[in-house]
């Protein structure tokens, strides 16, 4: 499977996570010509196999709400478009506020959500129990709920898109690392890889948390920062929790998967960059468990089954980076997805493919283009609702 089928491609995609694979799928569907995805690990070894499976449409910014509204429709269709079942279950997302400022903030979120035609609701603390009866309301001042948000099982998403890419003739080379970006006359001509050189006039940087490293291989400085986030799963329980629950004050999030495990995380500070690998820290186990037990005291005796970590790919304004790099023609970005690249991938990949094919996208360049960071007068709009 890893022997290259050819040397020359129209598009070479760096990173075989959900973003790279979905981008390959969209390009192949659009008839973009031969496409190769280069992945240095195994399928799902990056953040796409390490995330919490959350899918939400509640955001600070209306653009993100709109993109996610579209993505939710795609996820609902996913099982019928691709052969696998991601078990996208619309149990809703419950955001909890513990201070007047957070209540105000959630009010603004719900306004953005409702202005996009979605049924976001502001709740009194007592209303929370209707959706999550196991919570302790101690210190909770308000909440929002959107019932069409939900959770999915990420792995079948990766398998489904991977199989579709292969069925369309796309090549996915596993265990092949990109070690250099080759340019001639100021434009991309291909890549150097551990599996030999690859020729392609267009390359797409879909390397997730490692996208900054990959951009630097091309000599491009970018503001993307890899931040490590930890997460854990408990032993499986019979269904007791429908929505994803997020507490704004400390960023705690958790939901119950189809298999019954409670999966959730919370951010503790770690040095940035990808050098640490993916260990688990005592600080996380302690902070996370305390936070969870405070919110759901009955979970105290439930066992943690496993803990792991993965990388977010953060940008200064919280918006992803989609499009061609103005400094290096042929080098496209599909990165900067922070903690929500999985849920966005059906929608974001359409825009990446359009950009690669030279078509216009509906994305505001001031918010999404790679060039925005080069502009000293860039927009101050930001997507700040990051947890979960």
């Amino acid at each position: 499977m890893n022997a290259p089928e050819r040397r020359t491609y129209q598009v070479a995609i760096i990173g075989g996570g959900i973003v790279g694979l979905f981008t390959a799928y969209r390009l192949l569907r659009a008839g973009a010509g031969p496409v190769v995805v280069l992945e240095r690990g195994f399928l799902s070894s990056g953040a796409s196999g390490r995330n919490g499976g959350g899918v939400r449409q509640q955001w600070d910014s209306r653009v993100t709400v709109r993109l996610m509204r579209e993505a939710v429709q795609d996820w609902k269709q996913f099982g019928r478009e691709f052969g696998t079942n991601v078990w996208f279950r619309q149990g809703g997302y419950l955001f909890l506020a513990a201070s007047p400022a957070e209540v105000t903030r959630l009010g603004q979120v719900t306004e953005a959500v409702r202005s996009e035609g979605l049924d976001g609701r502001l709740l009194e603390p007592s209303g929370v129990l209707r959706y999550a009866p196991s919570l302790s309301l101690d210190g909770i001042l308000g909440a929002t709920f959107l019932k069409t948000d939900g959770t999915l099982y990420p792995f079948p998403g990766v398998w489904g898109v991977y199989e579709a890419v292969r069925a369309l003739g796309g090549e996915v080379r596993l265990g092949v690392e990109v070690t250099g970006v080759r340019a001639e006359g100021g434009r991309v001509v291909g890549l150097a890889t551990t599996g030999g050189p690859v020729e392609a006039p267009i390359v797409v940087n879909a390397a997730g948390g490692w996208s900054g490293d990959v951009s630097r291989l091309a000599g491009l400085s970018v503001p993307n920062v890899a931040s490590r986030h930890e997460i854990l799963a408990t032993e499986p329980l019979k269904p007791f929790l429908d929505p994803m629950v997020i507490r704004l004050s400390d960023g705690l999030y958790f939901s119950q998967t189809m298999r019954g495990e409670v999966v959730g995380g919370l951010s503790v500070p770690h040095p940035t960059g990808t050098r640490a690998g993916v260990p688990t820290s005592t600080t996380f186990l302690r902070t996370m468990s305390r936070s969870m037990v405070r919110l759901v005291p009955s979970l105290a005796p439930v066992g943690v089954l496993r803990a792991w970590s993965g990388y977010y790919d953060d940008t200064p304004d919280g918006f992803p980076v989609i499009g061609e790099d103005p400094r290096l023609p042929g080098f496209f970005h599909a990165n900067g997805f922070s903690g929500h690249g999985f849920m966005l991938s059906p929608a974001s990949s359409k825009r990446v493919a359009q950009a690669v094919l030279g078509e216009r996208t509906d994305l505001d360049p001031a918010l999404f283009s790679p060039g925005r960071f080069l502009d000293p007068h860039r927009s101050t709009e930001a997507e700040g609702l990051q947890p979960g």
């Binding site: 099982g79 079942n85 279950r89 398998w159 032993e235 640490a276 005796p301 496993r306």
Partner: protein
């Protein structure tokens, strides 16, 4: 829900007569009964005083405790949800099924969600609160207080060093000169890469539901091994037990046996014959049978079946017989009556502590499993980390003692010591590779072959994944769910690795290492919540 407990006094060790005679599996609600006896498998899970998923074989019951078997309705003996097992003889495809029609999807989700999960949400009688934990720092830590661990401890003590000893089992008598905590299971938290020299960091789970954050500069790992599982049709049936399962569970736990088939022809089978000879009807082995096993069997008039495939355990609610076939494929299968199958064919060292501590691992074809690269005196590739006992290759008590002394001696020696080098790659195959190859060709059966009993993953699902082109244990684990259950893959992944190697036409080591994620043993959220603040891990 049936109460299974009649409370009474206990003496330091769980009273195994309280184990539930019957439980049900998660997905297909197949009948199960205690299997391993050592607290890894999921076959003895009960709800205790409102707390779900308690392994009754590790639980010290107190008078007045209420234990019930969960995940069965109306009872584990007659579980109506068991129809799913009968209705879907080839399993339920949750990866590709249940996608259409669109309007039915939410309904499917409701049903499938209800079938998953083991215990219900906790409703403890006492208000739960974080169990106060603590942090400990020590120069020398010894993990495991078995023969090798004790020998290491004695060596340290003789040199004036006071080690901390953590042991998973109860430690009824104190160890002179050492601080020893029984019923405490420790795991390493993998160090961040490129973190530079620093003490080892471990998390220990204590049976009282608390946790300890441990720092140590030198660690001797002497945690022994365990008896492996085997797959065949019905290998998850009540009555199939590992060798240590038989040793620990008999005769307290039903189903009791008096006509057992012992599977294995080596030293472990010999020990089982010594103990259960009177209850054994046959010895079946994947390859040849050791002369002393043969001698013992002939003394007891027990027939031998060397080079024989175990195709199936017959019987739905419990083992009533086995289907066997001579290897070589030219003779028809035959049946033996039996009321138990005791798996005594291989013992595996526990590898995960070494892996988590960052030691280089190597494939050991003899045992068919991974182990740390170990030098003569127990040194691993990580400075300060030593192996003793079974993980250092010791197969007898004498050797275990020697290896414990050797590891402690080299840990005490000044200077960095010599780094071991991996053994050169060899063409040697594990006996089970050829065995499983033939079994795959012959086709085990009839009935489901459950390769991962915790999650009810079928052998067929593994084979299907490889047919679709998925390769490598990491991907197959995520694709099928094999190894993601409560035993953390101890019973399924070693066999899955051999099957994948056969299917992928690669060596097991190319199929990949089996990573186990912390905490490796389920540890209550309340235990982590109770860890003290002072210890900050971030370098």
């Amino acid at each position: 829900m049936e109460p299974v407990l009649v409370p009474g006094p206990t003496a330091g060790r769980p009273d195994l007569r309280r184990l539930p005679p019957r439980t049900r599996s998660t997905r297909y609600h197949r009948p199960r009964a205690p299997f391993c006896g050592v607290g890894y498998c999921t076959n003895c899970l009960v709800r205790v005083n409102g707390v779900p998923n308690v392994r009754s074989c590790r639980y010290d019951a107190a008078p007045g405790d209420v234990m019930t078997v969960e995940n069965a309705w109306p009872s584990a003996r007659f579980d109506i949800l068991g129809v799913f097992d009968v209705l879907f003889p080839h399993g339920i495809d949750t990866l590709r099924g249940f996608r259409r029609p669109a309007f039915a999807v939410p309904w499917y989700q409701r049903v499938v969600r209800r079938l998953a999960g083991t215990g219900a949400f906790p409703t403890p009688s006492l208000p739960p609160r974080p169990a106060p934990g603590r942090s400990m720092e020590t120069d020398v830590l010894v993990l495991g207080a078995g023969t090798a661990g004790r020998a290491a401890v004695e060596t340290f003590v003789a040199e004036g060093v006071r080690p901390l000893v953590l042991e998973r089992e109860p430690v009824p008598t104190p160890i002179a000169g050492a601080e020893c905590l029984g019923r405490t299971t420790a795991v390493f938290l993998p160090p961040p890469r490129e973190s530079g020299p620093r003490p080892f960091e471990l998390i220990a789970s204590v049976s009282d539901g608390s946790a300890i954050d441990v720092r140590a500069r030198t660690v001797v790992v002497a945690v022994g091994g365990y008896d492996a599982s085997l797959w065949f049709a019905g290998s998850d049936r009540p009555g199939v037990v590992t060798a240590e399962g038989a040793e620990r569970l008999h005769p307290a736990v039903r189903p009791d046996f008096s006509h057992a088939v012992v599977f294995g022809g080596g030293p472990r089978a010999f020990q089982i014959l010594e103990r259960f000879g009177a209850q054994t009807d046959a010895v079946v082995a994947p390859g040849s049978i050791d002369p002393d096993v043969a001698r013992k069997a002939s003394e007891l008039d027990i027939p031998l079946f060397p080079r024989t495939l175990l195709l199936a355990a017959v019987g739905r609610r419990a083992v009533r017989g086995v289907r066997l076939a001579r290897r070589g494929g030219d003779q028809p299968p035959f049946r033996l009556e039996a009321d138990a199958v005791i798996l005594a064919h291989r013992r595996l060292p526990h590898p995960q502590l070494f892996f988590q501590a960052g030691a280089q691992m190597e494939w050991r074809p003899g045992v068919g499993a991974y182990g740390p690269v170990v030098g003569g005196a127990g040194a691993t590739t990580v400075p300060g980390l030593f192996a003793a006992g079974e993980s250092a290759g010791a197969a007898s008590p004498d050797r275990a003692r020697e290896s414990g002394i050797a590891a402690a001696t080299s840990a005490l020696a000044p200077g960095p010591g010599s780094r071991p080098t991996p053994s050169p790659p060899s063409d040697e195959h594990n006996e089970l590779e050829g065995y499983y190859q033939e079994l795959l060709t012959a086709g085990p059966g009839p009935g489901k072959v459950v390769i991962c009993p915790c999650e009810d993953v079928l052998l067929g699902e593994l084979l299907e994944a490889t047919e679709r082109g998925y390769r490598g244990i990491e991907v197959i684990k995520r694709y099928t769910g094999v190894g993601t259950g409560l035993c953390q893959g101890r019973y399924c992944l070693p066999d899955a690795l051999l099957v994948l190697a056969l299917r992928e036409h690669r060596t097991p080591r190319e199929v990949g290492y089996i990573t186990q994620r912390p905490p490796v043993v389920p540890t209550p959220l309340g235990a982590f919540a109770g860890l003290p603040d002072e210890v900050e891990a971030t370098p």
